[in-house]
């Protein structure tokens, strides 16, 4: 490997180093705060090194990884998201577990897995990254709490996600049998040859789609989502919903582009169908929830549905540019917003010791008890609902523009119907928060720690910044895609 190649994968190296450091530190000195800080610092260093790695892009690193602006952008996003999750977990984890230092180790590893996905241009590295992410998450979900719910959630996720990985792997094998290659771009070349056997390919393609759709929790592979999000500790749910999904979507998009899977119109239409189902089912089911975490779980299903319409738009080569921009912008906006929403739930959880579920009535009157938290939650909900001046709105506007220029009316109709339903349940949270101060009696308040407050302020500030001044990010996206 040349020096440049090391530079190109510097973020991954920094994170690997950070993980080792954390492991060693835990072996000699158990201190939650110290471990947390080491983890945050190494993740921040990793994200800073993305900037450094940008200087040598684009560069192929071995057969498995490819460093380019697209991957590094998401690498930055994931490491930052990882750092934020660490920060939000610091106090939470002290309340909820004993000897929780390894929690941070697992978080670094999960982030590393997500970043590998951002680099992946080969089915092997795809699987590697995905498994690193998932296996860390199994443990993270069950880790900090000894009550039944997280264990149930982790078991559910372990079994189902394991099955999905197996399906995915089998799909890869079939693809390999048909084409003899695992690299995305070579797959594209091989698939282009006309003498390909289609039965194997179709089976393989269907299996790969199933596996990835499961990880993305797209309808009809979404059944695990609410239970897992509900059972997992709030910061982990946030990580799972944001980074966990964004990383898979990033690699899915790259797979479709590099291997030019858009030539299989049937496959793309299938994703369009899943997108419509996710938008509708996710939003309709979210309507029925009284538990905010479950509501956010269903809403995340709907948001992945919004994102998936991008693949349909990409079918038309003329609109591919704007569709990709839309997808990337939406992913960034969605990651920031989801992290903020779950982060605030974490803080609310903290102020209600030992209570893991957040029912709607638990946020009742939050505006008057915790004006800052409630204000931030308001922005997060408005961003999820896609109200102007927030990042979520610009993301949705991007999708609208992309879908309208492609003339995908069915998708647009579902997007509008979904967003319309969404407004109701997001607003319901806001309404509960504004209820009179006398209407809640079953809450114990602790002042949340300052680090959590600072972090959520930063997240909300970034959401508003992206919503009010999106031009610089748009220009950057335009230049790299």
């Amino acid at each position: 490997m040349t020096a440049n190649e090391f530079v190109a994968i510097a973020p991954l190296l920094v994170m690997a180093l950070g993980a080792t450091l954390v492991m060693l530190q835990i072996a000699f000195l158990r201190s939650v705060r110290l471990t947390g800080i080491v983890a945050i610092v190494s993740l921040l260093l990793a994200s800073a090194s993305c900037y450094y790695a940008m200087t040598v892009t684009p560069l192929q690193v071995g057969a498995l990884l490819h460093a380019d602006a697209y991957g590094l952008l998401f690498c930055t996003l994931f490491t930052l998201a990882g750092a934020v999750t660490c920060g939000l977990s610091l106090d939470y984890i002290q309340h909820h577990g004993d000897e929780p230092e390894e929690y941070f180790l697992l978080l670094i590893l999960a982030t590393l897995g997500a970043c590998i996905l951002a680099y992946a241009v080969h089915l092997a590295s795809l699987l590697l990254g995905l498994e690193l992410l998932s296996v860390s998450l199994y443990a993270l979900i069950a880790y900090p709490n000894r009550s039944a719910l997280p264990l149930e959630a982790a078991t559910k996720y372990l079994v189902l996600s394991g099955a999905a990985s197996a399906t995915l792997l089998f799909g890869f094998a079939l693809l390999y049998a048909a084409t003899g290659t695992l690299s995305f771009s070579e797959l594209g070349v091989e698939l282009g040859r006309s003498d390909m056997g289609t039965a194997l390919l179709m089976a393989g393609g269907a299996m790969i789609l199933t596996g990835l759709a499961f990880k993305l929790s797209v309808v009809p592979f979404h059944l695990w989502t609410p239970d897992v999000y509900d059972g997992a500790p709030a910061p982990v749910s946030g990580f799972l919903a944001s980074v966990g999904k964004a990383a898979v979507f990033v690699v899915l998009l790259r797979l479709f582009l590099d291997a030019d899977l858009f030539r299989y119109e049937m496959l793309v239409k299938l994703t369009g169908l899943m997108a419509i189902l996710s938008m509708l089912a996710g939003n309709l089911l979210a309507l029925l929830q009284t538990n905010v975490k479950r509501m956010l779980a269903y809403s995340s299903i709907a948001h992945v549905g919004y994102l998936l319409i991008v693949l349909m738009i990409c079918l038309d080569l003329g609109n591919r540019g704007i569709a990709l921009e839309a997808a990337v912008f939406y992913l960034i906006a969605y990651t920031a917003t989801t992290l903020a929403a779950f982060g605030l739930l974490t803080l609310i959880n903290e102020s209600q010791v030992e209570r893991e579920q957040v029912q709607l009535q638990h946020v009742s009157g939050l505006f008057w008890r915790q004006p800052l938290l409630a204000g931030l939650m308001l922005v997060a909900m408005l961003s999820l609902a896609g109200i102007p001046l927030t990042a979520g709105f610009i993301g949705k506007f991007y999708l609208f523009s992309a879908a309208a220029s492609g003339g995908n009316w069915a998708l647009l109709a579902a997007l509008i119907a979904g967003s319309a339903i969404g407004i109701y349940y997001y607003l319901r949270v806001v309404f509960y928060m504004t209820r009179g101060a006398d209407e809640h009696r079953h809450t114990v308040d602790l002042a949340p720690n300052w680090s959590g407050k600072v972090l959520s302020c930063l997240l909300i500030a970034s959401i508003l910044l992206l919503g009010i001044m999106p031009q610089s990010l748009m220009a950057y996206l335009g230049s790299i895609l």
Binding site: F397, A404, I416, I423, Y424, L427, T434, G436, Q471
Partner: protein, 510 residues
């Protein structure tokens, strides 16, 4: 000036919010000062405009013909800019907005005890949003203000509303948001199909005359139409209004009825019809029918109410039907009438809602069956209520009469049968307005209630509105002069609308 005005209101709201920490009575003074400063800023800017500019025919595509115009880059990726422009119509609407904003603050002067700072902040922020709507020339920016002004309004209803506030606030928000999404889609479609070589633009001036024809144009137009008709509110999208009005705090009702409804009419006049002349021409008979149905249906429902606020709310549906008719008749008379109706209805309904709020504050009920004979105890209130009730029924000499007369006169030239049907509204308005007076202020005095009459603060607001309506009714010419050049600029965009309608509606004489 225009961006500064919006910023002033935003900052003023924030200051009002925080001033609560010093003294709970301070926010209302801060809010009042903000609105007055806004008025001064507006008037000083208007005073700087050379007077001959007020009389030249406005050309919406020419930046120079606006009274005030400013444009800054914002999101060049989509050709979105901070483009503001003010003409006579916007100026009139701004005066109405700030004036009624002051009335709204006065009407809730000592009604709010819970978090007065946040209340005044939301009130002033709503005004900021509405001012933005009346000034934006970029469609994206317009949409932004259109949506954002709902959030403080939502909070006003959801936090300080009456017994069923959650339901009402949610209904209000969902109706307007969903229709807003349709409008966003239409805006995007319009901009994309008008783009040449990927140079997309959302500027009003550049999008004029670029509407697609045929079915596409009709569907795109409908997105705008639905959004604006929901806000207007026009039949059949009016069902959110009675709930929102009834549950909103007094100041919220005043803002809703006086200003927010006018944004719908303004949107139709400024954007929907000029941007889609062809589709609007074809659609005019439907829109006018909806207007007539709204007039009669709203009046019938108003008569059936026992809740004071609900009655006034349904009367709004009826009165705004005239606006819809006037706009789609699209000739000078009818358009002037529609604009006059926007102003006069804004003032008279705001006053009636203020009256309803005052009654509720004193009697703790809005049920008219439990009122009666109140004139006895509160003669000043009774007199004011009488004045605004007869204004609302269209008594000659007051603004509403001028408005409705002009609409009917303009409409008669285009669609006489429609005009005949709409004229029924004048009779029904008399029925429900007088019925309302009889139920509340007249009849046998009821000594259960000991009611305080209007004080100096409330009377001053009432007197201002009374003078405004008298002035609009007796000497409406300044308003016509102000808006005439705007209408002359807009009308050629939809040149042959009246004759087309005449051809579509049987029995019409152009």
């Amino acid at each position: 000036m225009m961006l500064e005005l919006i910023l002033l209101l935003l900052v003023g709201g924030a200051v009002a919010w925080q001033s609560e920490r010093i003294n709970p009575n301070l926010p209302r003074w801060v809010a009042m000062a903000t609105v007055c400063l806004g008025l001064i800023l507006l008037m000083s800017a208007v005073a700087d405009i050379p007077s001959e500019k007020f009389s030249i025919t406005a050309d919406p595509t020419d930046a120079q013909s606006w009274l005030l115009y400013s444009r800054h880059e914002w999101i060049p990726r989509f050709g979105i800019s901070l483009e503001f422009g003010m003409d006579g119509l916007s100026l009139l609407m701004l005066l109405l907005t700030l004036g009624l904003g002051a009335v709204a603050i006065i009407s809730s002067w000592d009604e709010i005890e819970f978090k007065p700072g946040l209340f005044q902040a939301n009130l002033v922020w709503t005004l900021a949003g509405v001012v933005g709507v009346f000034l934006s020339l970029d469609l994206f920016l317009f949409f932004l203000f259109w949506e954002v002004m709902l959030i403080p309004m939502y909070l006003l209803i959801a936090i300080w509303g009456h017994e069923n506030r959650g339901y009402a606030a949610m209904k209000f928000f969902i109706f307007t948001q969903v229709s807003g999404l349709l409008m966003l889609l239409s805006i995007v479609v319009l901009a994309i199909q008008a783009a040449d070589d990927g140079n997309i633009s959302f500027s009003y001036g550049e999008l004029l005359g670029s509407a697609p024809g045929g079915t596409a144009g009709m569907l795109t137009m409908l997105g705008f139409f639905v959004a604006f008709t929901v806000k207007l509110p026009g039949f059949p999208f009016h069902t959110w209004l009675p709930d929102a009005h009834t549950q909103a705090p007094t100041a919220g009702s005043v803002l809703l009825a006086g200003i927010l409804l006018k944004t719908g009419a303004y949107g139709l006049l400024r954007f929907c019809i000029p941007l889609f002349p062809e589709a609007s021409m074809q659609f005019a008979p439907v829109a006018m029918t909806l207007g007539v149905i709204g007039i009669i249906y709203g009046a019938i429902l108003a008569f059936a109410q026992t809740d004071f606020k609900r009655l006034v709310a349904y009367s709004s549906v009826s009165h705004m039907g005239f606006v819809l008719l006037g706009l789609y008749a699209w000739n000078s008379l009818a358009l002037q009438g529609a604009i006059m109706q926007m102003v006069a209805h804004g003032v008279s309904t705001a006053a009636l809602f203020m009256m309803a709020g005052a009654l509720q504050h004193r009697l703790h009920t809005r049920d008219m069956n439990r009122m009666g004979g109140l004139w006895h105890q509160a003669p000043r209130m009774g007199a004011c209520a009488m004045f605004f009730a007869v204004a609302s029924l269209g008594l000659p000499g007051l603004g509403n009469f001028v408005a409705e007369f002009l609409v009917l006169a303009g409409l008669f030239a285009v669609a006489p049968w429609m005009a005949a049907a709409a004229a029924i509204g004048l009779i029904t308005a008399a029925v429900y307005s007088l019925w309302m007076m009889q139920q509340t202020f007249q009849g046998k005095p009821n000594d259960e209630h000991k009611m305080q009459d209007f004080g100096a603060r409330e009377m001053s607001a009432m007197v201002v509105m009374i003078i405004a309506l008298l002035w609009l009714g007796l000497y409406p010419q300044p308003v016509f002069d102000l808006t005439e050049p705007v209408l002359e600029g807009l009308q050629p965009l939809v040149a042959d609308l009246p004759s087309t309608i005449a051809a579509t509606i049987a029995g019409g004489t152009p």
